[in-house]
Symmetry: D2
Subunit: 275 residues, 4 copies
């Protein structure tokens, strides 16, 4: 049976990325407060392709996900990306995965517990001589508008928002005690906002959250600056991007702010910048 | 060339609906305050199919959209549905279309104008002896929580929400002066909430909207009841459904309320119920 | 602290459904071939509200999901719906949940195994004197167009499609051996198409699937009729809806067909019709 | 009334991008074959913010869209971005807009005409001393798998796919005769695939498209290489990214390939790279 993918190609175009996306698979991921967490992940896997070859073998990408889905972590994803370069004899491979990630939250007054859905992302990139890994989260929060509060005699518009953080790890190897985890980034994000959100709030909790948020108004600009200050102080992180998005309650569009470090245009080794 | 669709079928299953969906087309629709409105509509067209025929001819559905897209209205959609039954020799046909619909809004203090995106829907259904038509809208609004306001010393959580109304017309024919229009349903929806939303608000407007909303707190239950009261009084409407959905700012899920009239389980001729 | 929701209401509008939607929670569901399956479910819960009361207590809906998420099944969902009517003293409650559901598939020639993502739905409705339950699935399949094959000298357009089945159970109680399961509906759907789809196919498998599908061309009309015939013969099912949707490869829109049994307009007790 | 946004900030974090997103507005855009095209655009506008200022004034972003929406083009978008830097006194501003863009297509045998929905994107970026502009399109196509065709005795799996091209203009100024237009990029994309797709095909057209596509099988890799070859030869383009995505008909995931020029890691002035 002919291997059509292995036919030579003469167009002279090497491809940056060939692969699969939107492959959803049940996975088990490491989580701090509940041991392992079973969830459903969306995978994108890519590798480069030299200009001399017609196509890549996509079934190998699916096979890789099937093999690794049972125990997902930064370390496992890094091995996946390295494994992919070896199986395909490519110089570059990237494995990205995104999944709902749940954290337990206790209501601030009654202590009633429930599970809050955040989104988590893991990305590992392997090149001939190096690997790197990025942990990301998207966290729902609530924000009260400082302008609306200051200029009004009473009330203040507020809304649900999301804080997204992507953090590149300083060292991929050091994935033991003290390693950066999605749980930590989620808590960091929650501290940047007017208040965390909770699935389950009784009336005394609702009263508490309403007033606590009103006491702590923030713009999207404030949320990313609060987050950036905390991320800059964490030596486990070599680069980051933080973005806050507000579902403005008085508009039908979004407000957002974003900062990356190092800055997108900064002179750097290239290894420090987020994609 | 064989007409495969016309082959006989022996499985004995008549089909309720065969057709196309997600066909997007540029359309021109009637609008009150800006004459005609150019927008992009998503079409779903269906017809029934007798048990004796293998398939329908879907190119005729596309042809119909191409012919009618230039002048869309309730009357035109009704003709489309009747036309479809004739071209396919079917006993039932339905044409549904949904599109962004923009209304001009002036900021409440400065009067600065901008265009607010709502969604509008038109559905026409033709049977052998009757046609009917439904106009629908989805309208972004803001709502302040009455519970949060009452139990807190200051502040109150509020959020963006949406009110969706679908109204069946008492008379399809009477599409002249005084006919029900999407613009009217949008304004009706806005009056049910704590405040309308606006794309463009200057600071004096933001102050006004913040306080006006705080003065008028509503649950999702209140919004649908306010709307239902107004809809019940409009003799041009023979049946309706109204639903309010809040993007709760203190949660990561939605709150919603819905009411239909006549009630879903009510004894009726069948012609009065919404699908 | 005032219970604002318990305030009386004088607008005279009883509400059909008040509740929460888009609450996502990690769940464990019964599955045939892999014991229990851990996945992430999207919940919608509603109850009716009498015209005399201002609002419902939505935290009770979240509490219910938190309590039941660990062991989800038709029987559990039915109890949830009944429990909800009791906690809220309502006459009607409905619990709907939808989640990715994975089935193991072996490639047809090499036997390489992988997990196929389908969607499953469970809906339970409780009224004063009865409960009912619906199991639903959405299944990706491939279909070859019979018309394209018949009128062309070679080739035939084909595409990914989805078959969605919702089946009301004849008896909610009999949830023991022989009960209807999502796995069965998925296999039924796969048999209606030109071929199942597989996450992982080696070249001998791809050859097999290509030719098997070409040998078995089906329209969307054929897929729903094939499914309807099988569903009609299953005494565990009292009502069903089946819909097939094709992502047409030669168009930029969808083709679809749908049939319900009993027919939507049929005279019935009301209990037999799907919503 | 206090201008809260103008308060000083001491956290020392300059922000890369502050702005609004998901603002939808009716727009009129230049189009080759139908003069002007009325459509609905989704806008994202951002500007940087110095570390010394608390917030930006988002109403100015909305005001800008309101002013420019009536006549959208590359030249207009470039002026918008420059205008935004001046109104906000910022060093950087970017205006991105995406909208459905329709092109008329004649069926290949019968000549029946219909309008095909593509997506188009325009992005303009203004810095102190330079502006640049990117035109992008996403185009639905059909692709027949070369491997499936070669290894099977008959048939070949095929599917709908999308080709996305983003092209940076060599010169923003030269927006006169001979300027690059979205229409051209759409036609370029269609020539890379096994066949274009059409909303409206009669049976003789369907026969033609089926066989033409079968005669011209392409992988996602082939589609991007075909496109890259054509884009490299166009002197109006200084940088590009092309990506092809297939909704694989035998799988439930996507296959894709991508290439950028200059390569993402290439040494360059920075001005040549796409974001």
């Amino acid at each position: 049976m002919e291997d059509v993918q292995n036919r030579p190609d003469t167009r002279g175009i090497a491809l940056d990325a060939v692969g699969i996306s939107q492959l959803r698979y049940p996975v088990s991921v490491a989580a701090r407060d509940r041991g392992k967490q079973e969830t459903v992940a969306d995978f994108t896997l890519t590798a480069d392709l030299p200009d001399t070859v017609k196509g890549t073998h996509l079934s190998r990408f699916v096979q890789l996900v099937h093999e690794y889905a049972g125990d997902l972590s930064v370390a496992a994803l890094t091995r996946m990306a390295q494994d992919l370069t070896e199986r395909l004899d490519s110089t570059y491979a990237q494995v990205e995965t995104q999944f709902p990630f749940f954290v337990e939250r206790a209501a601030p007054v009654t202590g009633a517990t429930s599970l809050l859905e955040c989104q988590a992302r893991l990305t590992a990139t392997a090149r001939r001589t190096c690997v790197d890994a990025v942990i990301g989260v998207s966290v729902p929060v609530t924000s009260v508008c400082p302008c609306s509060k200051a200029i009004s005699d009473y009330g203040a518009h507020n809304q649900r928002g999301r804080i997204a953080i992507d953090a590149r790890l300083s060292s991929v190897e050091e994935q033991s005690a003290g390693a950066l985890r999605a749980d930590e980034l989620i808590e960091l994000a929650e501290r940047c906002a007017s208040s965390p959100v909770y699935p389950l709030l009784k009336r005394p909790d609702e009263r508490f959250v309403t007033m606590a948020a009103h006491d702590n108004p923030v713009f999207v600009e404030d949320m990313v600056r609060n987050g950036a200050r905390a991320l800059l102080e964490d030596s486990r992180i070599s680069a980051f991007r933080i973005q806050a998005t507000n579902d403005e309650s008085i508009h039908n569009h979004m407000a957002f702010a974003r900062v990356e470090w190092p800055r997108p245009g900064a002179v750097s080794s290239g290894a420090g910048e987020l994609q």
